[in-house]
């Protein structure tokens, strides 16, 4: 395809199976996604294999994050105290509206009509760009991938490589148009140079920058940002005013804890021993960087998750996206099928919880429970366990409604549970099945169509008919203590 076809998806409008079905038709995106995730996975496996202490790092990282979450109020207030002492301003936002209000106010206070931004999913989560634009302020994304998304009026599909679903011909078309470069080549170097020139004048000129944060460091009152391109360093260093919006769960107790995450994060996220640039700073430092610094601590649904003992491990996430790269479901659909800022396995557990289970209820089912995500998670989030836990919540909530109680799924599952509690019932059901299936079994002994939701199976798969005799019947007839007598009566023996 020569023109970029954008997926300007709205969040939370379709359930996962519907969105997935649509995206499975998009072979260009699927090809891009599979290529990208295969490359990162391969690199990740190589650099992880180099470390003899990888499992020790995972365990330590998991314990540090779990500890920080268990004492989140303590560490957040410690961060606030130390950041303030270093000259920073700490703001608290319970929800998206408050975060947007605070940030807009700060930008307007400085009469800025443009702001430069470092990639932050947290700002996507609150819809910051739309809010700024509605108030006459132009936010300019400076990450190459986010720039691509912004120019394409698209949505991110992966939080480390947001434009993973786009290939370079599509990028070139966009840059040619938006940067007025009709003769632009499509080699990656050409595209990177175009971005460098386009953004350089903005870095040097624009006075207000907005960032996210990878980690909030409690004991120093500092923030750590990891990146590859240098746009982060530009936004953190050149402007007069820096505003960072960071989820409250991102806190770590001590600066030294970075010694764990600066090993596990780059290797998991981009398959590198270390990403090109990591920046840490505390508040403001005279003669070095922005002299006015604000951090907006965002709750937006995170704090209630801490109460759920089974699911609070979700908040350990350090946003490496290794689970996306490993997920066989994500490989097929890409990120837009999840219709939320956070896609893939972590998205499937984080999004519904942030929404208090009101949105994203189909996301916990967007998984075959294969466990590849848990295997690669650098902080050992047991995603399959949380998926099942959230499925339990969805089922219980549905069962509390009449419609849910009477749904085909619920009736079917209740009936199956009834059968599974008693072997006599189960055997009878098997016999009924053996007879009842006959109407569906074709001449070759296979079932090629089944009704209702079971048609999902037979769309693409045959089903061998149930054998005439179950194992338990065979055993009873041929092998059990009664069998010998029966067989002798038939003139056979089982010696």
């Amino acid at each position: 395809m020569s023109e970029l076809e954008v997926h300007a998806t709205e969040w939370h409008t379709r359930d996962f199976p519907t969105a997935a079905k649509d995206l499975l038709q998009d072979s260009q995106t699927r090809k891009n996604v599979q290529h990208a995730t295969n490359v990162i996975q391969g690199k990740r496996n190589t650099v992880v294999a180099e470390l003899p202490d990888w499992e020790d790092l995972r365990e330590a990282g998991s314990q540090v994050r779990a500890h920080a979450l268990r004492h989140l109020d303590y560490y957040l207030t410690q961060f606030e105290e130390n950041c303030t002492r270093a000259g920073g301003h700490v703001h608290w936002a319970s929800d998206a509206a408050e975060a947007n209000r605070i940030i807009l106010g700060l930008v307007q206070k400085h009469q800025a009509t443009e702001v430069i931004k470092i990639k932050t999913m947290t700002s996507e989560e609150v819809g910051l760009n739309a809010h700024l634009e509605a108030n006459g302020i132009r936010p300019i994304e400076t990450d190459l991938a986010e720039l691509i998304i912004q120019m394409g009026k698209d949505r991110p599909s992966h939080f480390v490589a947001p434009a993973l679903h786009v290939n370079r011909q599509q990028v070139r078309a966009m840059f040619q148009r938006e940067m007025n470069l009709p003769d632009l080549g499509d080699e990656p170097e050409d595209l990177a140079t175009a971005a460098r020139n386009y953004l350089r004048e903005k870095f040097l000129r624009i006075k207000v920058a907005i960032s996210g944060g990878n980690f909030l460091i409690a004991d120093s009152g500092g923030i750590c940002i990891t990146e590859s391109e240098g746009n982060g360093r530009m936004c953190l260093t050149l402007p007069d005013v820096l505003i960072s919006i960071v989820g409250i769960e991102k806190v770590i107790p001590s600066y030294r804890d970075l010694e764990i995450f600066l090993q596990t994060l780059p290797r998991s996220a981009t398959g590198e021993r270390m990403n090109p640039y990591n920046s840490t700073w505390c508040g403001v430092h005279p003669g070095d960087g922005p002299q006015e610094f604000h951090v907006v601590l965002l709750d937006n649904g995170r704090s209630p998750i801490l109460a759920d003992k089974e699911a609070s491990q979700t908040l350990k996430c350090i946003r490496c996206a290794a689970c996306l790269n490993a997920c066989p479901v994500y490989h097929q659909t890409g990120g837009h099928a999840y219709e939320s800022v956070y896609a893939g396995p972590i998205g499937a557990i984080l999004t519904p919880q942030l929404q208090s289970m009101k949105e994203g209820r189909s996301l916990p089912y967007a998984s075959s429970l294969c466990g590849a995500c848990y295997e690669v998670c650098p902080v050992k989030i047991n995603i399959p366990e949380v998926l099942i836990h959230l499925r339990g919540k969805v089922v219980r909530e549905d069962q509390a409604t009449l419609g849910g109680k009477l749904s085909l799924w619920n009736i079917g599952m209740q009936a199956a549970a009834f059968l599974f509690k008693d072997s006599g019932r189960l055997a009878m059901a098997e016999h009924m099945g053996q007879i009842g299936q006959k109407v569906l079994v074709s001449k070759n002994g296979f079932i090629e169509w089944m009704p209702l939701m079971l048609s999902g199976w037979t769309q693409t798969r045959d089903l061998k008919a149930m054998p005439a005799q179950s194992f338990r019947d065979w055993w009873a007839k041929e092998k059990s203590p009664n069998a010998s007598a029966n067989l002798r009566a038939e003139g056979r023996s089982n010696d």
Binding site: A36, H67, Y74, L76, H91, A192, M274, D288
Partner: protein
């Protein structure tokens, strides 16, 4: 201000409601101390091997790598700059005069004039610590390194690393950084790159595209 403090109170209350009975600072510190840290802190290479290893990692990033004895720093820098076709560099305060070869123009920058720095041919700095395993150089706002803008905006960075500043592992580097966590700090591991276009790592987006590292043998230091 009342609005923010209302949100602050709401968030903290919500967190405390979720977490249940709070613990004291001492109890929290005690629990923190029990975290299992069985990962490696130190490498097993001897120092010469370590420096060679660091050099290999830098070369993988297409950084230029040079070695010099303590008494040959200036002459080596002269050769490096000649090779790069540079006539001079900007630098922070705190660079030893003995490092500076005569025939070149070294301008000390004491402010953050971005446009002036952008016009320079490149920058020279020292560093705080370097990590061999990851090929990383750590820069801080300190004498000989300067503010962050200075090593960011120019297209060329010449970094002088004393061999004694090179450690093996990331945790070991953090031992050395323990006292300076409040300084603006940048870990540099190769020239800037992006992998956003079809996962091909492309060098040369925004930070310095060209990096030379001069490793000084300070075995006596």
């Amino acid at each position: 201000m009342t609005e923010t403090s209302h949100h602050r109170a709401t968030i903290l209350a919500s967190i405390r409601l979720s977490l249940g009975t709070p613990q004291t600072a001492d109890q929290i510190a005690a629990e923190y101390a029990t975290i299992k840290r069985t990962y490696r802190r130190y490498g097993t290479m001897n120092h010469d091997e370590l420096v060679d290893f660091f050099e290999d990692r830098l070369r993988e990033y297409d950084a230029g790598v040079y070695r010099a004895e303590l008494n040959a720093i200036a002459s080596t820098i002269s050769a490096i700059l000649t090779k790069r076709g540079k006539h001079g560099l900007v630098m922070p305060s705190g660079i030893p005069k003995s490092w500076l070869p005569q025939a070149f123009d070294f301008e000390q920058i004491d402010d953050e004039d971005a446009y002036r720095i952008d016009r320079s041919e490149g920058v020279m700095t020292g560093c705080t610590v370097a990590i061999a395993e990851t090929g990383s150089i750590v820069l801080q706002n300190a004498p000989g390194q300067g503010p962050r803008i200075l090593s960011l905006v120019p297209d060329y960075h010449l970094c002088v690393v004393r061999a004694g500043q090179i450690v093996s592992q990331v945790p070991e580097a953090f031992d050395r950084l323990a006292g300076s966590s409040s300084l603006p700090t940048t870990f540099v591991s190769g020239p800037s790159a992006t992998a956003d276009i079809e996962m091909t790592r492309i060098k040369g987006v925004h930070g310095p595209r060209f990096l030379d590292v001069l490793i000084v043998n300070d075995a006596t230091a």
